[in-house]
Amino acid sequence: MQFSDYLRLAFRNIRRQKLRSVLTIFAVVIGATSVTIMLALVTGAKGFFLNQVEANGTLQQVAISPKADITEFNDASHGYGGNCDGCVKLTDTIVGKVKAVPHVIGVARIANDGNLEAITYGDKKLSLEQTTAYDANGIITNNIVAGRDIDSRDQSGVITITSDYADKLGFKNKYDQLVGKTVQLQTRSFYSGVGADVQPPPQCNGPCDPQQQQNQKSTILTAAIVGIADTSNNSKTIRVPLEWMRGMEQNRMYQQTEADQKAQQDACKNVRGNCSPTPPHYTLITRDMLAENGYGSLIAKVDSSKNAAGAATEIKKLGVGAADAEASIKQQLTIFNILGLVLGGIGGIALAVAAIGVVNTMIMAILERTREIGVMRAVGAKRSTVRTLFTLEASMLGFLGGVVGVGVGFGLTRVANIFVNKQLASQNVHARDIIGLPIWLILAVVGIATLIGMLAGLYPAARAARLDPVEALRYE
């Protein structure tokens, strides 16, 4: 007996009890449809995530931290400004060395600080948690929803703010109107950076504490908003040009020059008793703290995502911490995979219920066709032939249900995509048709449905094969 004979006989038997077969298949269709949709959602979300990661270039990036023990991309990119034990300062010397590492094609220096405490526009004043700045060399990109991003020509006096702030400033859904507006930025107290009115210490006899003469009031800086950035990355930050940040980080104070100190000492060298030297001369000394302490973190861009891990290893040899994004992406992909199992399992419950329907249908069919089985046995069908025939019949119920179910699922994902596309468009995301139905998924669902049909048919088929032909022929 050839396989085509089995197929023909099984198919004919399915067609014989049309309503019952259709109902049984319908149950499988529901199961297969739900599995298809669940897995399509997860696959789509995973694909969308990977696309976004690929698009914003994260896979081509290596995050560099002053702390050598940093292994996570996200931790590394957050950075640690200032001093820490066992840290290698991310100075421009290190930046130069990183740039020399093979496959590295660019480095963005990142500095975050809390010098700015509030932003004021009109009568609205919002507190600021963090100010960020980095090289506008295209390595770190932002999703700008209005205006423009900070570019390499900007030196100072311009900022971008996140849409979250724009909303709070009262410009929800009219971001364009906020572009070009001037805002006041209030610094912390003891601010001595650019724009601060640093006064020389008052004349005093004897030693004076230069720190006391520091400006203690906060300074108001003005800036023009050039653009609004999407909130998805950092909701509570404003971005300033890196050079402006450098200015804000400056430590400026009046100090007595060494020459002046020496002149004073010289004047009193040969004087016995009280010596009243000439008044000290103070000079405004400016220290570039960003250069001295190093940047908070660096992002190195490599020529290709497959070289990111190797470049990270090389960069670590400089004593700094470095991590590529692959590990953290893998972690997130694991979450998608678990989600897929859970959702697929939920769909699978419907499929399991359908399997019970298949068992039921097959047992009924065998009771009805007992005599027929007897005849088949009498004219030469082996037990194994009968078993194969009924197993195949059950598999076919599963297969047909799987095919129709995938078809229905496909249709539903297309419809869902129309709605999701609208949603994405309104969020300014440049991705469409993200709920995917790859060919492997189609084949897998049809395969699983067929397999479940087959498994459901095993017991009824074994029962059919066990029938004694003499009894079967006598069955009424």
């Binding site: 014989r16 005849v375 088949m376 030469g380 082996k382 037990r383 194994s384 022929l473």
Partner: protein, 226 residues
């Protein structure tokens, strides 16, 4: 002449509740090729059991059954199925045709289990239906045929695999006497062409046609010449 079928000391017992029912009790029995045997006896006497054991549908509890050189008593299901498929044609009282299949497809069924190509199956099935006078009823469903015609389809099905033995269990039991005679004529004709024929019946008119009548009572053979 060498025996085509030889049963020696065959015993078959069924358990009915607490009682043991001797369907066949130490039966020995020979059939030579081309014979026409009628097996008669009251119901429950064991005549169907005898036919089923010869036809390879049932195993004896003890004794030996040799058909055409094959020992059937200890043959396993697979080989026994092949034996049935190659040697035996069954004809049943209630025809046992598949109602949703045409006459042609019903006759083709045994050939599906042999190694025959689909085209040859069709040709052979058509040939058999023509042989029983139904060459013009190939595409008819059993429901569109009369009782006599249905039994002729069943005979054609038995004939399809060119059996050496046809076993007919009450082939005229569901037919009126005219149709019954017609069927017996077809079977007798096949017997004349050399097929060994075993007919189980309690119709004396049918038994009279046989070369030999084997009467079974309480599992014992009581043979008389036809």
């Amino acid at each position: 002449m060498d025996a085509l079928i030889e049963l020696k000391n065959v015993t078959k017992t069924y358990r009915l509740g607490d009682e043991m029912l001797h369907a066949l009790n130490d039966v020995s029995f020979r059939v030579t090729p081309g014979e026409f045997i009628a097996i008669t006896g009251p119901s429950g006497s064991g005549k169907s059991t005898l036919a089923n054991i010869i036809g390879g549908l049932d195993h004896p509890d003890s004794g030996s059954v040799v058909v055409d050189g094959n020992e059937l008593a200890h043959t396993r299901d697979g080989a026994l199925s092949v034996y049935r498929n190659q040697h035996i044609g069954f004809v049943f009282q209630s025809f046992n045709l598949q109602g949703t299949n045409t006459a042609l497809e019903n006759v083709m069924l045994p050939l599906v289990f042999s190694h025959m190509k689909n085209k040859e199956r069709k040709a052979r099935a058509k040939e058999c239906l023509e042989a029983v006078g139904l060459g013009d009823r190939l595409k008819h469903l059993p429901g569109q045929l009369s009782g006599g015609q249905r039994q002729r389809v069943a005979i054609a099905r038995a004939l399809a695999i060119k059996p050496s033995i046809i076993i007919a269990d009450e082939p005229t039991g569901n037919l009126d006497s005219a149709k019954g005679q017609e069927i017996m004529k077809v079977l007798s004709e096949l017997n004349k062409q050399g097929i060994t024929l075993i007919v189980i019946t309690h119709d004396l008119n049918v038994a009279r046609l046989a070369h030999r009548v084997v009467d079974i009572r309480d599992g014992k053979i009581n043979e008389k010449r036809g």
